[in-house]
Each structure stands twice: as C-alpha cells, then as structure tokens.
C-alpha cells in the first residue's frame, strides 16, 4: 500500500541480535540516560516562595481606584455592570453629603459595590467600560476560600489602599496596570 504521508516509519521486525538479547547493555544505556538527568536544570519554580511573573496583559482581580488625594473615583454609573457579560457586578449608588468631599470625588458614589469572583470571567470589559477609570484589573488572582460567600468581594476588598495614608500599600496594589499612574483620570 502506498503511504499517504512521508511520515511513515516502517517498524523493524527483525529478530534481536545476540548483543541486544543480552539486555544488559540496553539497561546500562537507559541508566546512563537517567543519570544524565541528574545534571539537568529542572524547570520547577518553587511556587509560594517564588512566583512566575505575569505577562503585562494579565487580567486579575478588579481594583477600585482612588485619585491622588485618596478619594474614590467610582460614581456608580453602572456601566461596568452593564458591560459585564457574566453579570458579576452589582452596585448601589448614593449621593455625596456635604462634608464628604474628601471621601468621594464626584457627587454620586457607590455605597455598595460587589463583584462575584465565582462569576467573573476576568474579561476586562468593566475596565474598558469605566468612564472614570475607577475600576481596573490588577495582576493578582482570587485566592481560594472555604465558602461561596467569601468570593463575593465588597468594597473593602476591592478598594485600593489610601495613597496618602498608606503609600507603600497603594503603590503595591496599583501595580503597573493602572492607566493613569499619576491619578489623573481621563475625564474631560
């Protein structure tokens, strides 16, 4: 029969020679191969101590951003919730009271902002939809949890640390993913 591809390899059925039937040379050859692996570098990364760097386009946990004075940027417009294909985001809006200007940037803010991390598919559409640059995806992923309700992240889980009070934590949480590292939004 004609071979269909040129990848065909004919199996050799010829009986083993005396040397091959000795079996020991073959064993020694195999043992030499395994022995050579002692000197090979192993590719394992010692995980909890060392982590593999994420690629710059990695999409991880959401972060609710603050501006440079530490005011929450989110205005609870709901565009992210609409954009979310997994319907993971829910929020409740509230009006900023006089005297709360140092907490919220705009007159309206999110009193409740929840993302269900079990539903979230980390597509990043919320980040694209946000007009205030208030939500973006970070370079961390959701840690494991014992209960389902532990995966519903509220505002206290999502909000970035205060840039003035805790600058180091803020810088760490901000990472390199924020579009405007200086805190200036793309609001017009």
């Amino acid at each position: 029969m004609q071979a269909l591809t040129n990848k065909v390899e004919v199996v050799s059925r010829k009986p083993m020679t005396w040397w091959e039937r000795m079996y020991l040379p073959a064993i020694l050859k195999g043992m030499a191969i395994t022995f050579s692996h002692i000197f090979k570098k192993n590719p394992t990364i010692n995980y909890p101590e060392k982590t593999r760097p994420f690629s710059p386009v990695f999409r991880g946990l959401q972060i609710l951003n603050r501006d440079e004075e530490g005011r929450e940027k989110c205005t609870a417009c709901g565009l992210c919730a609409v954009a979310c294909p997994a319907e993971a985001i829910t929020m409740e809006a509230a009006e900023r009271q006089p005297g709360e200007e140092h907490l919220y940037k705009e007159e309206k803010y999110a009193a409740k902002y929840e993302i269900n991390m079990l539903r979230c598919i980390f597509c990043g559409f919320c980040e694209e939809a946000c007009p205030k640059d208030a939500v973006y995806l970070s370079e961390t992923f959701a840690p494991s949890n014992f209960q389902r309700k532990g995966f519903i992240y509220g505002k206290d889980d999502l909000l970035i640390p205060h840039p003035v009070n805790e600058p180091e934590a803020f810088a760490k949480a901000r990472g390199s993913r924020a579009k405007n590292p200086e805190g200036h939004g793309n609001e017009h």
């Binding site: 043992m31 395994t34 022995f35 692996h37 090979k40 192993n42």
Partner: protein, 353 residues
C-alpha cells in the same frame, strides 16, 4: 549457678539496639532518598516542604500512617492478618545480626566486635532468613482474603523461590573461592587482597539481579504491580501495618545492600588503604569509625543503584521474569560455579592439567 558474662550481654544488647534502630532510621531516610532520587532523575524537586530540603518528610509520612484508620477486613483471618507485617518486619531486621559493621572497637578495656553474631554459617543464616521473608508477604496476602492480595502474594513467593536458587548457586562459587561461610572471615579475606567482585564478576551480577528480585524491587516488583493488582499483597492493609510492609521493603533493601557489600565489595574495608597499618597509626577506635563510614558509603551507593534502576527500567512481564530466572540466571550460575570449581582445581594443581 550459670555464670553469664554480663559485659558481653550488655555489649551485644547495645549493639542489637543500635543496629535495629539504625536500620529503622536508615529505612526511613531511604524513603526520603528514594523520592529525592526519583525527583532528580526526572528533573523534579522532590519533597521540600517538611523542614529544610524536606528533611523531615519521613517523619511526616510516618505520622500520617499512624493517624490513618486501622482497617482489619471482617472477612480476613485476623491473627494472620496482623502476623503478616510483623513477620515481614522481623525477617527483614534479622539479617542485620550477621553483618560485620566494622572490625572492632576498644572501649572500657575490652575489645568489642562490631558484629552481633559471628556465626560460622553466616551466609546460610542469611539465606534462611531471606527465604523466611516471603512468609510475611505470603501470610499477609493470604489472610487478606482478597483475590488481588493472593495473586500478589503468589507472585512474590514464586518469584522469590525461583530467584533464590540462582542466588544460592551464584554464592556457591563465591564460597568456593573464599572457603568460608562466615561473613567476618569473608570480609577479612578481602581486606588486603582483591575484593571478591574481581574474582567473581559473573557471580556478582547474578547475585545483584537476584537481590533485586528478592527485595521485590523494580524491575521485579510484580508482587505489587499497581496497574494489575491494585496494591498487590498489601491491598487490604492500612495505617501502620501497611507502613510496616513498606518499611520492611526498605530495610530489606538496606540490608541486602549491606550483604552485597560484605560479600563482594570488601565490607568495611577502606579501599586503597592498609587497614591494619591504619589501625596502628590512628588507633583502633578511629579506624573502626572510618571503616563504618566506608561501609556506610558503599551501602548508600548500592541503595542509590537500587533507586536508579527503579527509575530507569520498566517492570518485567511475569513470563519474562520466570524465563530470566529459570532459563538464564540458573544456567549462568551453574556455568559460573563449574568454571570457578575448575579454576580452583587447576590452581591447586599449580596450573597443570
């Protein structure tokens, strides 16, 4: 009144306790070594969590085994079920009695021989104990009242019986060369002469293959062939009874390495060094320590060989195993014996026909 030399009693007791606990600790750490060697040969890291470099891993494993539920199947014969692992452990430990762990030490004004029992039939004793070892597996497999256990046990026993023949015949040639059955004298004979491996290379090869088979190690671990027999003879075992079986395997490995080193690789002989002169120069005790270390090093390299082979060679099929044992190893051992006998005759005749 019977007069017992209490000093001998105490010295032997101390020796027995240290050999038993020593082989337990070494068996423990050979499980660690096995995992590390396996990891290194497969480009992995191996246990690294418990303690630095995973050095406490054997303790963690043992603890885990202790905390497992102890299950004795209701359809098993309980006495035999418990007796099985005990026997496996006991026979594994008993080999250590005749192995010379060193020449002697001089303590409290006494010369203490570092061998529990220097019996003049040491090699025969080893054979007797090793063939007892199959009882542990056999009884365990039988008492489990489980098809897979029984199959595993039968495989193990027929395999051990088959390979014991070749092992014995290969040793006869060695015994003809050394002219003694006492392990101490055998080691003594190798101290200042060639090691027996150079006099009996074929005998050593046969002995090595048979030792692999006797220890139920890959490529001859058909007794616990996981893909065919679930767990083999210890399918029904759990908790520390299973641990005993696994432990017995490693003790067997350690002690058969020790036997091989004593028979073929000069035992506690320090290579390229005249041990008698050394003992005169640095004192008997220091020489004994060096010899012990040397013996230990040789044993560890044999343990490494066991593991290295395990992670290289796939398992034999059962008919291949029997073919190898009966059709190749036994004829080869017989051939070796006859050639050795002929050469010894010739030598006694001053190389005249």
């Amino acid at each position: 009144m019977l007069v017992i030399d209490w000093a001998i009693f105490i010295e032997k007791l101390v020796l027995i306790i240290s050999v038993v606990s020593g082989s337990l600790v070494i068996a423990m750490y050979s499980t660690y070594m096995e995992r590390k060697v396996a990891a290194v040969l497969q480009d992995r890291r191996g246990p690294s969590r418990a303690g630095p470099f995973g050095i406490l891993q054997p303790l963690a494993d043992g603890l885990k085994l202790f905390f497992k539920e102890e299950i004795i199947p209701s359809f098993s014969s309980k006495f035999l079920f418990i007796l099985g692992p005990c026997l496996a452990m006991l026979t594994a430990m008993m080999i250590g009695a005749v192995i010379p762990w060193g020449n002697k030490v001089h303590l409290f004004g006494r010369d203490i021989s570092l061998q529990i029992a220097d019996i003049n039939i040491g090699v025969l004793y080893i054979f007797g104990v090793v063939s007892m070892g199959v009882y542990g597996i056999m009884i365990g497999g039988w008492a489990s009242n489980n098809k897979f256990s029984l199959l595993g046990a039968m495989r193990a026993s027929s395999q051990i019986i088959s390979y014991e023949l070749a092992m014995g015949i290969s040793l006869i040639a060695l015994l003809m060369v050394t002219g003694t059955l006492s392990l101490k004298e055998m080691v003594g004979g190798q101290m200042d002469h060639w090691w027996n491996i150079f006099k009996q290379p074929l005998g050593f090869l046969i002995f090595l293959v048979c030792a692999f088979a006797e220890c139920n190690r890959t490529p001859f671990d058909l007794a616990e062939a996981e893909n065919e027999l679930v767990g083999g003879y210890h399918t029904e075992y759990s908790s520390m009874k299973l641990g005993f079986y696994l432990f017995a395997e490693y003790i067997n490995m350690f002690l058969s390495s020790a036997v091989m080193v004593s028979l073929f690789f000069g035992g506690y002989d320090i290579p390229f060094v005249n041990d008698v002169n050394l003992a005169q120069n640095i004192g008997i005790n220091w020489a004994a320590i060096l010899q012990g270390l040397c013996l230990f090093g040789k044993i560890v390299s044999f343990l490494f060989l066991f593991m290295w082979v395990r992670w290289t060679i796939p398992r034999f099929r059962y008919d291949q195993l029997m073919n190898l044992g009966w059709k190749i190893l036994i004829p080869m051992a017989l051939f070796n014996m006859i050639v050795t006998g002929g050469l010894i005759l010739l030598k006694q005749n001053n190389w005249h026909f």
